[in-house]
Subunit: 420 residues, 2 copies
């Protein structure tokens, strides 16, 4: 069989599995998930040696220490992945929810019912835990998955998928509910992305290059988790201590994530008081500041960098912060809508009407008033788990969890109604 034929066969099998999955009860799915978690832990003797092959290859290929660490599994990390599965088992099942129900004058009764999407393709890079995290969330929502991981983690991914499959199938998981593409030829991504007769959705998890590639190839919907160029706007009516603490938190609490702060926007009327204080706190934590001219002048510090035009559209994912002073609220909104990535943006102000304007006019997935952008997260929203933060506007926007892994259908019940 060619690679294309193999991928097509996986598609046929996934569709068949998805039909069976869609009829499983919540209890049946949870039993399967718990068995998968147990299987993952009891398969350490297969998974860890497989992971060692990937680690050795990564070292031989001179991957960075950080990249090698991201690949590495041990008993503790396996236990964390298994606990993640148990957590998903404990979450409410979105499938079967009656989203709405109404009657029409002719007597037909219409129910909008939440159902699984069907078959979801997940294309991801290095971290082997995604194999489990993504498959398990999709499964809880009644979907079959076809997973395509990166070559760096292929041995780990295969071992994890095998453990999930054998554990799940021992508890009633339909065959082919979770399939891993067992090879990493580049063309497999293309075949997957073109297989819209079997795949209802593709979710790429990884850098912009991967997402761009999938977007340009895919014939089915793609949910994208692009960069977060997040802003905090310190309004002239801000509480300066609150503004400082939110700025420091959003920038430094975990700088390498998509909901971390990248650009600080400051109202000119508060800049003189706020900037020296905030900069001192940020510099204490090792943050490099890249400032527009007004901010530079107000800071009164000699060694600050001047921001380049490109800084306003850069996701640093690091202890670097660009800083811009604006004339008014309208300019702040304009800057954020122009240079941001519609991910997560915040206003700090004590003035409700100014906050309301910001909340309405900022066109981002999550807009904050007096809270850190770091709360843009499925866990923090109370969703229990997330598959990512969508930067799309269709179907799923912002933190994306179980509910966003479902579709709906309409059930229409009549008593013989005809249109004529």
């Amino acid at each position: 069989m060619t690679i294309k034929e193999q991928i097509l066969e996986m598609g046929v099998n996934a569709l068949s599995a998805s039909r069976q999955l869609s009829t499983l009860s919540t209890e049946a799915k949870n039993t399967i998930l718990l068995a998968m978690a147990d299987s993952l832990e009891s398969s350490a003797s297969e998974i860890l040696p497989a992971n060692k092959l990937d680690i050795d290859a990564a070292k031989a290929n001179a991957l960075t220490t950080a990249m090698v660490d991201r690949l590495r599994l041990d008993e503790q990390r396996l236990a964390a992945i298994a606990d993640g599965i148990r957590q998903v088992a404990s979450l409410p099942d979105p499938v079967g929810e009656v989203m709405s129900n109404w009657q029409r004058p002719n007597g037909i009764d219409i129910t909008q019912l939440r159902v699984p999407i069907g078959v979801i393709g997940i294309i991801f890079e290095s971290r082997p835990n995604v194999t489990s995290d993504a498959a398990v969330l999709c499964l809880k929502a009644g979907n079959a998955t076809i997973l395509r991981g990166g070559s760096e983690a292929i041995h780990s991914n295969r071992a994890i998928a095998a453990a999930l499959q054998s554990g799940g199938e021992s508890a009633g998981l339909p065959a082919n509910s979770i399939q891993l593409i067992p090879f990493t030829d580049r063309e497999s991504v293309q075949h997957l992305a073109e297989m819209d007769q079997y795949l209802d959705l593709i979710i790429p998890r990884g850098g912009s290059g991967l997402i761009e590639k999938v977007v340009s190839l895919a014939r089915m919907p793609v949910i994208k988790h692009y960069d977060g160029i997040c802003h905090v706007f310190v309004d002239r009516k801000a509480d300066i201590d609150m503004a400082t603490s939110i700025t420091v938190d959003a920038k430094t609490q975990k700088p390498g994530v998509c909901n971390a702060l990248e650009t600080l926007v400051v109202h000119k009327n508060i800049a003189q008081d706020f900037i020296p204080l905030a900069f001192a706190e940020l510099q204490k934590r090792g943050v490099e500041l890249r400032c527009d001219e007004t901010a530079l002048a107000l800071a009164g510090i000699n060694d600050l960098k001047k921001a380049e035009e490109s800084d306003w559209s850069t996701e640093y994912l690091d202890l670097i912060l660009s800083v811009k002073v604006v004339d008014d609220l309208g300019c702040a909104i304009e800057h954020i809508n122009e240079f941001g990535s519609q991910h997560s943006d915040c206003i700090v102000t004590t003035d409700q009407s100014r906050a309301d304007r910001f909340l309405q006019e900022i066109d981002s997935a999550t807009v904050f008033w007096n809270a850190s952008t770091r709360f843009s997260d499925g866990e923090e929203f109370g969703f229990g788990a997330e598959i990512g933060i969508s930067t799309d506007k269709l179907h799923a926007r912002g933190p994306m969890a179980l509910r966003e892994l479902t579709s709906y259908k309409y059930l229409v019940r009549g008593t013989g109604q005809t249109k004529a």
Copy 2:
């Protein structure tokens, strides 16, 4: 400017218009819509001569009578389009709806708010009324549109768009809220489909060829309205009169539409009683029957056609019906899920548990129990208007109306919460 540059400029302008549209009140939008309806009627002296140019060209190009008729506008048809706009003005505004609201233990308050999508591209064929229908629905939901019609209707489309723009702008419509690509070069479709920095969604309205082309080019989400290969399954426990009347209605009330019946599936235990009766009624209405062997034998009519394998996956859009006899409910479900287009399918039965199984296991946008598939329609659902029947599972499935032309965002209100 090249065509690409012109399309890009339209994108920039549409984005800017969409930001203004998103802040308009319901009242402001309705005032604009009513002014657009009036303008359309009072612009008959520009629109009808423009339409005559398209009609003359169509005749010169030897288009079929049906195609010429689809293009034709007159005072009455213009009045109908204008009434359609007034109808949309009278519908509830989906924008601003609080979809959900909750508090987290740390005190942050999260609101999921319904907002416009942003900029929507509509690519459509011949019928000039789509220019108005699509733009107006998108506008009511707060979206800017870029419209690209077919060359057959270019003069009519330009005149209609001009009337909508001038009427709307006189009542406060932001400039560039409704833009028509004024030329019909094929490359404009490609530029539009690649412009994902400005366009949030593309909706192709037309035949499969057009949809396929857009799907393969588009970098942004596409909502597809593919064929409807709809089924009625007459269960062994069906009321024969009801089954006959639903079959006749679904097939003959308006055969050229996507929710019309294409394949009749009959349980073997009722086939002997049902088939002769139903066939007589269908033949009385000029329906050509294409039957499997069992149905042929039971019909007792000599001049019936035998169904080919391709009949099971054909959308006739005509007075033709394929007929299949199956052994049991499971076989019916299997046939429909395999050969249908996940659009609209019906079971006729008096047995609730058999109906429930069908409603659950048929993977279609709308599943009917004892009602004609012709009710799969935005108007019949009570949505007031529809932009189409989506055969997608993401974002919008089945009848797609104002609510499906919106997105959402999260507003998070805090009192200084930080994650650290």
